[in-house]
C-alpha cells in the first residue's frame, strides 16, 4: 500500500478543517502509534496484519495532516525495547519496513509532488543492513523535497537537532506514558492521550487532538517563553563566569573596567557560538557520510 493515500476530504471534514485552521495550528505533530496488536487481537487477525493496518493508517494520517497544513510529522515506529519481542514479530516488522521503504523509492515522484521529506531518527546500526540501505536511499532520495527545510538528518546522539520540537504529541490506545519517545523535545509540547487504537484512528480523533492543542496553546506558549528566558539568562550567567575566570587568569591583577569586561564577554560568546556551529557542521557531515556510504555499499553489493 502506498505511503500517501490520495483523495480529498469530504465536505464536512473540509469545513471542520477550515474551522480548526482559523486557530493556531501545530507545525510539528508527533504520534506514538500504539495499539496495533490489541486491534489485531480484537478483530481476530494476525499480529502482522495489525501492523500492516497500522501502516495504512499512517498513510491516511499523513493525508489528513497535509490537508490541515501540518508540515512536519514524526512517528514512533519502532523502539530498541521492541527487539525484546518474539523473533517472528520482529522479523515481520522488519519485513514490513523493508517493503515500505522500497515502495517509497518507487513512489518518489508522487512524494516529490506532495513535498514529502523523510527523516529517520535513531540508531540505525541496530537494524538489518539491507534495511539500513533501503532507508538511506529513501532519505537521500527525498532529501530536497521540502523547500522549507534544507537539512536531512540522522544522528547517533540527539535525534532531531535542526527540527523544531513537536508542538503536539499524540499517543493512542489509552496508555498514558511517553515510553522513551522524544523526551527532551516534548518537554513543552501539548500531550494528548487518546484511547482509540491506532489502526482505528479517525480524522475526528485528529481534530480532537488539534482542538486540545488550541485550548492549551496560550498557556504552553507562556511556559515555553519563560523556559527560554530562563535558559538564556542561565547561559549568560555561565558566559559571564567563564569570561571573569579568563580575565582573572590572563589579567595582571588589576581590576578590569566595565568596558573591558563587556568586550571580553562578547568575544567569548562569539567564540562559543562558533565552536557550537563547527561541531554541528561536523556532525551533519558525519551523518550525510553515513547515508552515502550505505548507498554505495548497496549499489556495489
Amino acid at each position: 500500500m502506498s505511503w500517501i493515500k490520495e483523495g480529498e476530504l469530504n465536505i464536512i471534514e473540509r469545513i471542520s478543517a477550515n474551522v480548526l485552521k482559523a486557530g493556531p495550528m501545530p507545525k510539528h505533530v508527533a504520534f506514538i502509534m500504539d495499539g496495533n496488536r490489541r486491534f489485531a487481537h480484537i478483530n481476530n487477525m494476525e499480529r502482522q496484519d495489525g501492523h500492516t493496518q497500522g501502516f495504512n493508517k499512517l498513510a491516511e494520517t499523513l493525508r489528513w495532516c497535509k490537508h490541515l497544513n501540518i508540515p512536519e510529522v514524526t512517528v514512533y515506529a519502532f523502539s530498541i525495547e521492541n527487539f525484546k519481542r518474539t523473533q517472528e514479530e520482529v522479523d515481520g516488522l522488519m519485513d514490513l519496513a523493508r517493503q515500505k521503504f522500497e515502495r517509497l523509492l518507487e513512489e518518489r515522484e508522487n512524494l516529490e509532488k506532495h513535498g514529502v521529506c523523510i527523516r529517520v531518527l535513531g540508531d540505525l546500526n541496530l537494524l538489518p543492513l539491507d534495511l539500513q540501505q533501503a532507508i538511506a536511499k529513501a532519505v537521500l532520495a527525498t532529501k530536497n523535497h521540502n523547500n522549507d527545510v534544507s537539512e536531512t538528518l540522522i544522528t547517533e546522539c540527539l535525534y532531531s537537532n535542526k527540527s523544531p520540537n513537536p508542538d503536539l504529541l499524540i499517543r493512542t490506545s489509552g496508555e498514558v506514558r511517553l515510553s522513551d519517545f522524544l523526551l527532551w523535545q516534548t518537554s513543552h509540547s501539548c500531550l494528548v492521550f487518546q484511547s482509540v487504537l491506532w489502526p482505528e484512528y479517525s480524522f475526528w480523533n485528529l481534530c480532537e487532538a488539534i482542538l486540545q492543542y488550541q485550548l492549551n496553546h496560550k498557556s504552553i506558549q507562556k511556559a515555553r517563553e519563560l523556559h527560554r528566558e530562563h535558559q538564556a539568562s542561565l547561559q549568560l550567567e555561565a558566559d559571564r563566569l567563564c569570561t571573569a575566570e579568563e580575565l582573572q587568569h590572563h589579567g595582571n591583577g588589576k581590576p578590569t573596567d566595565a568596558h573591558t569586561r563587556q568586550e571580553a564577554l562578547l568575544h567569548y560568546i562569539t567564540c562559543r557560538e562558533e565552536r557550537v556551529q563547527n561541531f554541528l557542521t561536523a556532525l551533519k557531515h558525519k551523518r550525510d557520510l553515513f547515508f552515502h556510504d550505505l548507498c554505495i555499499e548497496a549499489t556495489t553489493a
Partner: protein, 235 residues
C-alpha cells in the same frame, strides 16, 4: 469566508469551555451530595457500633494509611506532583505530601514551572510539618521532599526530621533517586512543562483537574489507577 471560519472557531472554543465548566461544577456538586448522603448513612447505621467502641483507627490514623498502601498491588517508590495551575495552594500540597509519606511512598517530587514552590520552600516545609501534626497526631518519620526548579543551583538543608533538597534536574542523575513511576498532573494544561524530561521515560501520568481541596480519596484513586496499569516495556 475566512472571517466566518474564525467566528465558528471562537464559538467552538467557547462551547468547549462552557462544557468543561459545567462538567466541573457537576462533579463538585455530585461529590458534596455523595458525601452528605454518606455522612447521614454512617450516622444512622454506625452509631450503635460507635457506642460499642468501633474506631481504633481514629486513635491511630496512620494504621489506616499503611493498610491502604499495603492493599495496593503496586505502589510507586517515587511520585511526582506537577502543578500547572497558576496559584498553588500550600496546604493542599502539604496534605498530599503527608498522605504519600503515610501510605509508604519514599520520594515525593513537587514541581511547578514558575518555581513558586522552590522560591517559597520554607513556607511549604512549615506547612508540611503543620499538616503532619494535624493529620498524624504528631507522629512522623523522616521523608524526602524535593523541590525541582527550572535550573537553580541552590541547595538547602532542612530541619531534623525532614530532608529538603533543591536540585537541578540534571544533578539528580548523580544521586540514586529512582525515576518517578507516577506523576499526578493538576490543572488544565496538557503538558509536562519541562518536568524532569530525562526521568519520565516510563512514568505513568494521571490527571486530576485541580489540586485545590484535593482529598485523600482523590490521591488513593490515582494510586489505585496506577497499581492496575500494565507496562509491557516494548514487549
Amino acid at each position: 469566508m475566512v472571517m466566518l471560519y474564525g467566528l465558528l472557531w471562537r464559538l467552538l472554543l467557547l462551547l468547549v469551555h462552557v462544557n468543561r465548566a459545567l462538567v466541573s461544577w457537576l462533579r463538585v456538586r455530585l461529590q458534596s451530595w455523595k458525601s452528605r448522603l454518606w455522612e447521614r448513612a454512617m450516622a444512622s447505621l454506625l452509631l450503635p457500633l460507635a457506642l460499642a467502641g468501633f474506631p481504633e483507627q481514629q486513635k491511630n490514623p496512620r494504621l489506616r494509611y499503611i493498610s491502604d498502601g499495603m492493599s495496593l498491588q503496586k505502589l510507586p517508590v517515587h511520585i511526582g506532583f506537577l502543578v500547572t495551575e497558576e496559584e498553588p495552594s500550600y496546604t493542599d500540597i502539604a496534605n498530599l505530601v503527608v498522605w504519600c509519606m503515610a501510605v509508604g511512598i519514599s520520594y515525593i517530587s513537587v514541581y511547578d514551572n514558575h518555581d513558586i514552590f522552590q522560591k517559597n520552600h520554607s513556607r511549604l516545609l512549615k506547612e508540611i510539618e503543620r499538616q503532619q501534626r494535624h493529620l498524624m497526631g504528631g507522629d512522623g518519620h523522616p521523608y524526602n521532599v524535593e523541590f525541582l526548579s527550572n535550573g537553580s543551583d541552590k541547595c538547602h538543608n532542612g530541619k531534623k526530621k525532614s530532608k529538603v533538597t533543591l536540585l537541578q534536574p540534571l544533578r539528580r542523575t548523580l544521586m540514586t533517586i529512582p525515576d518517578p513511576e507516577l506523576v499526578v498532573k493538576f490543572g488544565p494544561v496538557d503538558s509536562t512543562l519541562g518536568f524532569l524530561p530525562w526521568h519520565i521515560r516510563l512514568t505513568e501520568f494521571i490527571f486530576v483537574p485541580s489540586h485545590r481541596d484535593v482529598s485523600y480519596k482523590d490521591l488513593l484513586g490515582a494510586l489505585k489507577l496506577y497499581s492496575s496499569c500494565q507496562q509491557r516495556v516494548g514487549q
